[in-house]
């Protein structure tokens, strides 16, 4: 997938807009009503000069006030209708805008929940966030308010043209002769201006990034004594920011006067030719005044139309990114033929399993492993040896590129994903909690768990005591990502969360990050209690965990190089022996140094 943010798409992409209109369908009625309202706004806007003309010709020129009250009444009625229109236009466009954003975000989020890990591996979180926030907002904005401006522009221009031709066709043609040039100029400039401002925005985000890095890396920069180098680099950025912003500003500064001057040519033509006609008595003063007003009123909608068109084209990039997310194909498909399975026991077999992450080398090659239900397996080995891959495959976060995995003798692809996942208890290396209370976080493992069951699980996980010591006990807010709790506390809660799910297969990615000795001891105890009677896979770092496992697998380059109990492997004096002794020394040192 293309991560690079393309900024401008030149052509109109029909398929894309079709997809967007699918989203718009739900608001069909609102859209039609809005279009109706906008026609009203445009027509009324164009009608006021006609009223003025009428007043000039009838009351001012004839010096009589006959029918003045009727005139006032009509004027006020139009104002009332227009006020009503304005209210509806904002309410309707707002409804469409917000509704559209809501719908698109919703379907994008739903898709995100179904996408597999391989998608998350290659797509940064920040990228997805930007799609669901700023891009979606831009689509809603462009579509809803684009309709407003577009219809208004069409309606007012159309009405003005009609009125002008009714008043005087010759003068109308003369006055409007500047419009084609105006339109061409506007389209050219609006597109260019938008393009320049996008460039400015891109540099702006680079500057934000530079500030971020400059501040986060300030300590390192000081130590390396590269402050001046950083400053020079940064000044390069601000310099290009300066020149492109000024370029963009100059472009808009040229455009407005140009349009105004062109518009004034229209006014001048109306005054010259209209004035002469007035002198010859072929048109009235009121008509002249109306033409002068129209010549001024006309260039606003031209500008708006050009802007809307440029924005539509530029919003295509945002739309494309969002639609591509929504249309991403789900890689891991849920066949779920065996939906009648009641319980998974936990017999596991990897048969000739090979796996590679996208376009990479094989991480596992013809990997074979048989695990009996209830056995606990410790996986040890260096980073990148394939330990995590084994676990990821088992969870079906990924699927083997070749070979199969069997659970209780069944090809695990035939087990519904939901069934498989609800039989798993998973404790991550860096415990991830969600904002909310402790209770809610434990309940995450089993939404139907009663409060008693939650407490039970917390007790098993050795978390109950510390939870009760908190002021609000189980109702304590954990903060974003669990930030209000210590790492150790988070770990205990994540264990409780796994326990409450009552899984038959337990997966534990042991934390390497240091927690204090006491907490570590508690975590240790909790784990050993939990593992009893369950098939478990542990990516183990701590000696005590490793030692207590039924079977230890030493993984190197995707292969099992040693397999056996602690005793057996120590006797071998091979890789495991060295690993163990090294780890032992480290743990001892840690104990002393604290």
């Amino acid at each position: 997938m293309e991560i690079r943010e393309q900024e401008f798409k030149k052509n109109f992409d029909l398929h894309l807009w079709k997809r967007l209109f699918d989203f718009l369908k739900k608001y069909r009625n609102s859209v039609f009503f809005l279009i109706f309202v906008m026609f009203g706004v445009g027509i009324i806007d164009a009608t006021f000069p006609i009223l003025n003309k009428y007043a000039i010709d009838n009351f001012v020129k004839n010096k009589s006030l006959d029918g003045f009250y009727k005139f006032i009444l009509i004027y006020l009625t139009l104002i009332a209708v227009q006020v009503f229109n304005v209210w509806w236009l904002i309410a309707l466009a707002g409804k469409i805008d917000m509704g559209l954003c809501y719908d698109i975000r919703k379907s994008a989020f739903n898709k995100l929940q179904r996408l597999s890990f391989s998608y998350y591996d290659k797509t940064p979180v920040g990228w997805i966030m930007a799609r669901l926030t700023s891009d979606v907002a831009r689509i809603g904005d462009t579509l809803a308010w684009g309709i407003v401006d577009f219809i208004w522009g069409i309606a007012i221009m159309g009405s003005i043209v009609v009125y002008m031709f009714i008043l005087n066709a010759r003068l109308a043609l003369i006055t409007l002769s500047v419009v084609p040039l105006l339109a061409v100029l506007s389209i050219y400039f609006q597109k260019k201006i938008l393009f320049e401002y996008r460039k400015v925005r891109r540099i702006n985000s680079q500057i934000t990034g530079a500030f971020n890095e400059g501040i986060m890396g300030a300590k390192t920069s000081k130590i390396l004594n590269i402050e001046d180098k950083n400053i020079d680099e940064f000044k390069g950025l601000t310099r290009s920011m300066f020149s492109s912003s000024v370029r963009a500003a100059i472009l808009s500064s040229i455009y407005m006067p140009l349009v105004m001057t062109l518009g004034s040519i229209g006014t001048a033509l109306a005054l010259n030719f209209g004035g002469r006609s007035v002198m010859l008595n072929t048109i009235s003063f009121g008509t002249l005044a109306a033409f002068i007003s129209y010549s001024i009123q006309f260039f606003d909608p031209v500008r708006e139309l050009a802007r809307v068109m440029a924005e539509f084209i530029s919003a295509q990039t945002a739309a494309e990114r969002v639609i591509s997310l929504i249309d991403t194909e789900v890689e891991i498909k849920d066949f779920g033929e065996l939906s009648q399975i009641k319980k998974i026991n936990g017999d596991i077999e990897f048969k000739d399993v090979s796996f590679s992450y996208k376009d990479g080398e094989d991480v596992l090659e013809d990997f074979n492993l048989k695990v009996k239900a209830g056995q606990s397996i410790a996986l040890v080995g260096e980073t990148g040896s394939g330990k995590s891959t084994i676990v990821n495959l088992l969870c079906r976060f990924y699927e083997p590129t070749r070979g199969s995995i069997y659970i209780d003798g069944m090809d695990y692809k035939s087990i519904p994903l939901s069934k498989l996942h609800s039989s798993l208890g998973y404790v991550l290396q860096t415990p991830h909690l969600f904002s909310g209370t402790i209770k809610e976080n434990i309940q995450y493992g089993n939404l139907n768990a009663s409060f008693e069951e939650i407490i039970e699980a917390a007790k098993l996980a050795n978390a109950h005591e510390f939870i009760m010591s908190l002021e609000k006990a189980y109702d304590t807010e954990v903060g974003e990502g669990g930030s209000k709790l210590s790492v150790g506390q988070r770990q205990l809660i994540s264990i409780a969360r796994a326990i409450v799910a009552n899984p038959s297969i337990f997966i534990l990615d042991e934390a390497t990050s240091s927690v204090d000795t006491e907490t570590e001891h508690m975590i240790q105890q909790a784990i050993s209690k939990v593992l009893k009677g369950r098939t478990s896979f542990i990516i183990a770092h701590r000696l005590s965990t490793i030692k207590s496992a039924d079977r230890i697998l030493v993984i190197k380059n995707g292969k099992i190089i040693e397999d056996g109990s602690h005793r057996e492997l120590m006797k071998k004096r091979g890789y495991y022996y060295r690993l163990y002794t090294n780890q032992y020394i480290l743990e001892q040192e840690k104990k002393i140094f604290g």
């Binding site: 000081k222 601000t238 002068i292 090294n582 020394i585």
Partner: protein, 587 residues
């Protein structure tokens, strides 16, 4: 306050301001020309006003112009073009000045933050700082480029238009602007009040983003517990709340704009109806009616904008104050001081040091290191090991006692010079989001590839780098590859050993590398430069015991110092540690 940062562009900004006045003046002229044409050239009224009369006489007088109406028409185009020219000048120079100010602000903020004391960054709140450097600067820029300009334009337009209106007919003028104060006040008050609602929406959006972010970062948990549906509902709720709040905001806007439009249209209505009434009575001319109608059209929109801008203006002053807060912080003097020849002999004499809180972190530290020696410093967390390293780089100033580098007091040495001679690989290895090559070569200029490779080989990272698809050109950081902890440390080491430092300090910077690799790295370093003084802060006894001497720190004081053999003989803290290890070997 803003002018300070506008250096080199002040004159342009002043000219831009003058252009605004000229441009507003020119735009109010055109309706007068149209009025005069309608009343006196096309119509048969006398030209009112001395100036206008003499001006039209200059063009040839009424009768001549009646025959040559195109001259007046051309005049309109000409004046508009002239107005356009001034608008262009205003746009160009005001923007240049505003952008220059923004650039100056950004540059000074960035340089200041680079040169500020180390301690500032230890305590800094990153998010807040970044906001000041970005959105506050943006606020000031848009104040200078847009808001200030708009205010000036509106004020002058109002002044010009009012005086012309009152000149023609005071009573009519009064009626014509009777609703304007209300229109202005309504928009001022509305935009002040609606801020709260905006804030609510922002908060709702924040909450929604937080759920999204948590979901994305916790995708493993979500999938492992089969909680997709649950998450969808959670997001749905936030998504809906956000939408509903925005809808409410939209409704508020609908009420505001429709009522504000109602007032504006009523004001125009008053102008038209009263004007028509006056004109039909002969109290004003047709041209006066038309000029009032165009003027009111020119006034209404800017008046509403003015209300909005003024309600917003406080922000710019807050922004500049927040920026000044950063710029007021003292900065380090990096470029003055002695530049003695540094060999690598270090001497600490009765050194005391405390951070701001006043608690002594280091107490009565006395020891010396000779050029080329390798010293290990061990001790529990918080014993002051890292502080020693920071002091040697001059990142903090010590309070009592002295540190001498080849006999020169460290305080008196030029800091740039000092840090070019003393290298530190610190605990947190921050890498910059550049390519690996750029990262390794970051502190050097014009370095050949050979030296980069050599440094990487010393740090035992060369082969790893070559195994990446793009090798040394691999981009790291947010937009690129994420390195493991051990890989990062090794890149940080390569980045440091590429330079020939006289003193090299490793602050627990090999912790994520296994012991074998660590030994490799140290051996290769030793081979390359025998004369470099090396200080290794470590948790590993295996590392410490190979050093020439070992310093054991506890609670800020040196409790043991000597070679491995001496310390073993002494039978203290170090000995105890060592015994634990040996036990294992016998097992």
């Amino acid at each position: 306050m803003f002018f300070k940062f506008m250096k080199g562009y002040r004159l342009k900004y002043i000219f831009a301001s003058i252009s605004i006045i000229i441009s507003s003046f020119l735009s109010v002229i055109i309706p007068i020309i149209i009025k005069t044409s309608i009343d006196s050239i096309i119509g048969d009224k006398k030209i009112e006003g001395r100036i206008i009369l003499s001006f039209f006489n200059l063009l040839g007088g009424r009768d001549y112009l009646r025959e040559h109406l195109y001259i007046v028409a051309l005049l309109i185009v000409l004046i508009t073009a002239l107005n356009g020219l001034f608008m262009y000048i205003k746009g160009k120079w005001a923007n240049e000045a505003a952008e220059a100010t923004a650039k100056n602000l950004r540059d000074s903020l960035y340089s200041h933050l680079q040169r500020i004391y180390y301690n500032f960054h230890v305590e800094a709140k990153t998010g807040d700082l970044i906001q000041r450097c970005t959105s506050d600067v943006e606020t000031i820029k848009s104040f200078l480029a847009v808001q200030f300009v708009e205010i000036g334009r509106t004020v002058f337009m109002v002044l010009f238009i009012l005086s012309i209106m009152f000149y023609y007919n005071a009573a009519y003028a009064l009626i014509s602007i009777s609703l304007i104060p209300f229109i202005f006040a309504a928009s001022y008050i509305f935009f002040k009040k609606v801020k709260k609602q905006f804030q609510l929406c922002d908060e709702a959006e924040g909450e929604m983003s937080a759920v999204l972010q948590e979901n994305l970062t916790g995708v493993r948990v979500v999938k492992a517990f089969n909680r997709e549906e649950f998450e969808i509902e959670k997001f749905e709720e936030k998504n809906r709340t956000y939408r509903d709040l925005l809808l409410k905001l939209m409704r508020t806007f609908a009420y505001f704009w429709s009522s504000s439009d109602a007032m504006c249209m009523l004001q125009t209505f008053l102008v038209v109806v009263y004007g028509v009434y006056l004109a039909s009575k002969g109290a004003i001319t047709l041209g006066t009616l038309i000029i009032f109608i165009s003027y009111i059209g020119m006034l209404l929109w800017p008046i509403r904008q003015l209300g909005r801008i003024l309600s917003d203006m406080g922000k710019s002053f807050v922004a500049i104050a927040r920026i000044n807060e950063i710029l007021k912080e003292p900065i380090e003097d990096l470029s003055t001081g002695l530049t003695p020849n540094i060999e690598g002999n270090i001497e600490f004499k009765n050194l005391y040091f405390s951070y701001r809180d006043g608690k002594d972190v280091l107490k009565d530290i006395t020891f010396s290191i000779k050029k080329g020696e390798t010293i290990a410093i061990i001790g529990p967390t918080g014993s002051g090991k890292s502080t020693l390293a920071y002091l040697l780089l001059g990142l903090y100033d010590y309070n009592r006692g002295s540190i001498e580098l080849d006999g020169v007091e460290l305080k008196n040495i030029n800091k740039n010079y000092l840090r070019q001679n003393i290298g530190l690989v610190s605990q947190d290895c921050f890498l910059f989001s550049k390519t690996l090559k750029e990262n390794i070569a970051i502190s050097t200029k014009n370095v050949e590839d050979e030296r980069i490779f050599e440094a990487s080989k010393i740090a035992d990272i060369h082969d790893t780098i070559l195994s990446f698809e793009k090798g040394y050109e691999t981009q790291i950081g947010e937009k690129g590859v994420t390195l493991s902890g051990g890989q990062k440390q090794r890149v940080a080491i390569a980045r440091c050993v590429i330079k020939d430092y006289r003193v090299l300090i490793f602050d627990d910077s090999l912790s994520a590398v296994d012991t074998e690799t660590e030994q490799h790295i140290r051996n290769r370093l030793k081979e390359r430069s025998k004369d470099t003084t090396t200080i290794i802060i470590t948790h590993r006894l295996t590392t410490a015991h190979e050093c020439d001497r070992i310093i054991v720190l506890d609670k800020g004081t040196i409790i043991e110092m000597g070679s491995h053999d001496e310390l073993i003989k002494k039978g203290g803290f170090y000995r105890r540690l060592w015994d634990i290890q040996s036990q294992l070997d016998e097992e």
